[in-house]
Structure formats: C-alpha cells, structure tokens
Amino acid sequence: MKQSITLDKITKFMGFEFLRTLKLIFTGKIEKEDFRNFLRKVVVPLASMLLFIGLWHMGSQALYNTEATYKIEKALTEQGQEAADAMEACIASGAVKCQPNTLPSPAQVWASFNTLLDDHFAIRADKQAFAEKTAALNAKRIAEGKDAITYTGRPSFVDQILTSIKTVFAGFLLALLIAVPIGIVIGLSKTLRSSVNWLIQIFKPVSPVVWLLLVFMIVKTLTKDSNSDSAFIISFISVGLCSMWATLVNTAMGVSSVDKDYINVAKVLKLGTFQKVFKVILPSALPLIFTGLRITLSVSWMVLIAIELLAQSPGLGSFVWEEFQNGAIDSNSKIIVAMFIIGGIGFLLDRIMLTVQNMISFNKNDGI
C-alpha cells in the first residue's frame, strides 16, 4: 500500500507544522486547540524575533554613541576644541568619512541587503549584455576550435552563495562516498575496527584549517600542470575530509550494533553474507547512517565558511573576508547580512536532511 504524500505530511516532516495552523486560519476551520498552537508556534516566536531586533537596535545605538564620543574626545585632546566641534558636526551630518565604525543597526543591515540584491541584478544584466555582445564572436571562435570568451567580471553576492552551496554539496558527496563504504566495512569487522580506531580518534578532532593546509600540500602538487580550478578542488576536498567523521563513526556503529534478534533471523534463514549485509544489517543501520549524514552536512556548511575564507576560493567565506578587509562604510552590515544568509541556509540544509531521514527511517521520528 503506497502512502499518499500530502502537503500536510511534508510540512510535518520538515517541522513546519505551524503552516498547517495558518492554513486553518485562512480556511476558517479553527478550534481552540489550534489557536493555542498558533499562539505558541507563530506568535511567540515572532514576538521573540521583534524583541531580538529591538535589543540589537538599542545595542548598536549604544555602541555608536560610545564610538562617536570617543572620536570627538580624541579630536579634542589631539587637535583642540575647533576640531572637536567639526568632528561632531561631521558625525551629525552623516558624512561617510567620519562615521563611527561599529556594530551596524538592523536598519543598516536591511539597507545593505537591498544594496547587495540591486548589485546582483546589475551584474546579471551586465552578464546578459556581455553574452549577447559576444554570442556571434563566440560561435565563430568555437567553429575555429578556440575557447569561447567568458565573462570575467566580479561575482555578485548571489553567485557567491551558489558557489558556496556547490562546494558544500561536492564536499558532502565526497564525505558520503568515502565514509559510508568505509564505515560499513569497519563496522562489519571487529579486527578492522580496532586497527583503524586510532586513526579515526586522532583525525576526528583536527581543525578545518589544518585539513585545508594538508589538502593544499597535496592538491598543489597534483594539479601543477592542469588548469583546473584548484581553489574549488582544495576547498571541497577539505570540507569533505573535515565533515566525514560523523558519518564514518555513525555508520560503523550502526552496522556493528545491529539488534541480535535480526542477526538470529538471518542465521535461521541461512542468509549468505552478501544477503545478510544488504537485507538485514544495512536496513537496520540506515537510521543511524542518516543521522550521521545530517551531522556531516551541517558540519560541512560550518567549516566551509572558514575554509573559503582561507583558501581564497570564491564563496560566502571569501565574501566575508573581503568585506572585512575592504573597510567600506557598509562593510560591517554586509558581513552581518552574510551571517544571516549563512545561518538561514544552514537551517534549510538541516531541514532537508531531516526530511530525507524521516522518509527513510522505519521508526518515524518526531522532528527535532
């Protein structure tokens, strides 16, 4: 019997149950219990969000004032009363050259977000124009067997987000392809498990930065002659190596701790080794494997930012770093925008994995 997949089920799987309440409100079929749920799941979180933004606003205001006072006092002690007055007027006028550099307020961050979006659309239009302009020439070049001319302008914020997501998925895929098979093999054999245990225990806590350097040493040599994108290769391999440990350990544990009853069943049915692994051990280890993969995905997103920052590969990490080096008036607020985007995407990735995990697992978990 196939279970029908409804919108309700999907939202429940993903932990967005409050959407159902919203639907009930709009369709008018609301009961007291639903209303209480709505209060708890929508109104309370919204209120706490507002409180958060309010506190942030006040905090940034206080920091701004402290910084401004400090600037004025500094001008007073170093250059005298006249300079101090000039500084005060300059700050009050909002001129770029003398703005206090501190935590941006929510409004500034929102403005930066819009700037980044506008910038993205501008770059996209530019790209399109470039593509149209070079279309004829490129067709000719390809016909002649030459490489096409590609757009070499700077990437927009959205491009960088997409690059980051691409890197994280490549890294995640690498982690999956390495960790799951190895996890299964070492889960099945006690001897193998104790022989590689030291390796896992030692490499598991190694920081992403060190992994990056290690991968850099190897990839640099290997890609010496080719003109492939080594920054991308280095960052996705580092992400994979950093994040695969959770899956490796969970898979090995899931495979080695299969319920003894199931093993007895396999013995009584006289299943062959291959059958035993694929029909009994793996299905029963699947929930744990997916828990590991979920941890792996969130870890890979977390380390990605640090790795991009260091590897200078395009993406959110290098965006943050460049903005920090840049020191423009809206750099700080752009960094905060990136922070929220990073958090939001991380949350979304986790939800996707949770959904997959819930669909696969035979004991339906409640969303966590």
Partner: protein
Amino acid sequence: MAYLELNNIYKTYGKGEHATEVLSNINLSIEEGEFVAIVGFTGSGKTTLVNLINGLLQPTSGEVLFKSEPVVGTSHERGVIFQNYSLLPWLTVGQNIYMAVKEAFPKKSKSEINDIVAEYVEMVSLSHAINKRPKELSGGMRQRVAVARALAMKPEMIIMDEPLGALDALTRGNLQDEILNIWGKDKRTALLITNDVDEGIYMADRIIPLRPGPNATLGPEFKIDIDRPRDKTEMNDNPNFKKTRNAIIEYLMDIGNERKSVSKTEYVLPELTPKDFVNRF
C-alpha cells in the same frame, strides 16, 4: 534412533572464574511426529536449550543429534518461532515471509514463491495485512506472521520458544488452536517451550519440566493421555487432565520450594533501638 536426541548436554557461559553453567546433563529424545512441551520458570535456561537445538549455539559438551546427524548450525529443516517475533521492521508482512521462502526454496520462481507466501498469510488469516509493516500490527498479529514465516519454509520440525508468552489470554487461545491445526495437518515434529502448564497440557503429547538454572536439568516426563482434538472446556472436567496438571504443578512447586530453601544462611540483624528523641528536647 530417535528423531531428535540430546545426549549429556552441558552449556557454560563465560570462562574460568566467571563461568556459569546454565544447563547440566540434559538428555532428551523426541520421536518423529511428536509434540513435546518443555515447561520451566523464567530464567531457567529455556532459550539456551532452544538455541542449542536450532543450532544458534553449540553445547560446551555433549551432542545434539537431529536425524542421527550432529547439529552444527542452523538448518531450514528446523523452523524457529522466536519469543519476540523477530520480524524485520523495514519489510512488510509479505516481504518478511517472501525472504524466508526464497531462502528455503531458491530454485522456485518468483510467482511460485508469491503463491506460497499468499497461502501461508491466508492460513494465519492476515491476508488483509499483507502489505503492512510489523509496527502497524498488534502483538498477536505479529506473532502470527512469525508463525507463518517459520511454517512457510516447510520445516520438518518446528521449534517454538515461548511463542505466545507476550500475548493476552484470548489471542493466546486462538493461536494455540491455529498452531495445533497446522501441526495436525501434516504431523510435523514440534517442540514447544513454555512457562504455562495448561498450555503445555493442551498442546503436547509429553511435558518435561526444566528444573531452574543455573545447572538446569530436565525433570521426569509427564505423558498426556488425552485424545485429540482436545477441547478446552471439556478438558477441565477430564479426570486425566486434572491428575496430570496437579502432578506437574506439584512437581514445579516442589522445585520452587527447594530453590528457596537452598540458601540456609541466617542473617542476624543488629539490635537497634530508635534514638530517644523526646527526651533530647
């Protein structure tokens, strides 16, 4: 030569100082077509005994002979119904049975196997639930699936390890009848392990009590001379039934008392009197 024979079986768990002997000097022989019940207290080593017979465990010393051949591993000739169902939760009822049948008859075609599966699911009247997963079934239904899975492999001998232990009295009665029906149809050999004397008397030809472990041994056997098919309500008035039942229960009670009186140590409690609180204030 008997169909199944256990000669001087000893089973010890652990090694050296920590060794505990669970079974000592077990001797048992079962004839072909016979229905034997072994009755014992919980923790007396019943499951160990079953696992020795089905080949999941090997005895420390002694030998298990099945059709005069020593038992060295599990075999499709001996079907097992486990105490805790042991269905694979990610497979449906049909898939659970399909997997067993496919292993037992690897040469049969897919449709032949499907026919066998359908036949046995029908036999335990679960046709409506063939596509359900074990989690969606009640305890009694799950145990029926386990029964169907064991029988669909067409074993020559059925070994049941407290198959109905976790079920309520009503479901238990129904399943007892179902198992007896199936056993009666083609007279397979059956070994039932149970802690319920009435269940043993109702179902078996012979009852053998297992004296509680450690060092569990088999007690004297009790023959049940009641004609089949047996009827539960009529049986209650059968003098033979009453006699056998009383004899078995008396025997088990005696063992229980014996076990209690094993510890002769008397504990002397220190003489303590409560502190005199009243006069302190």
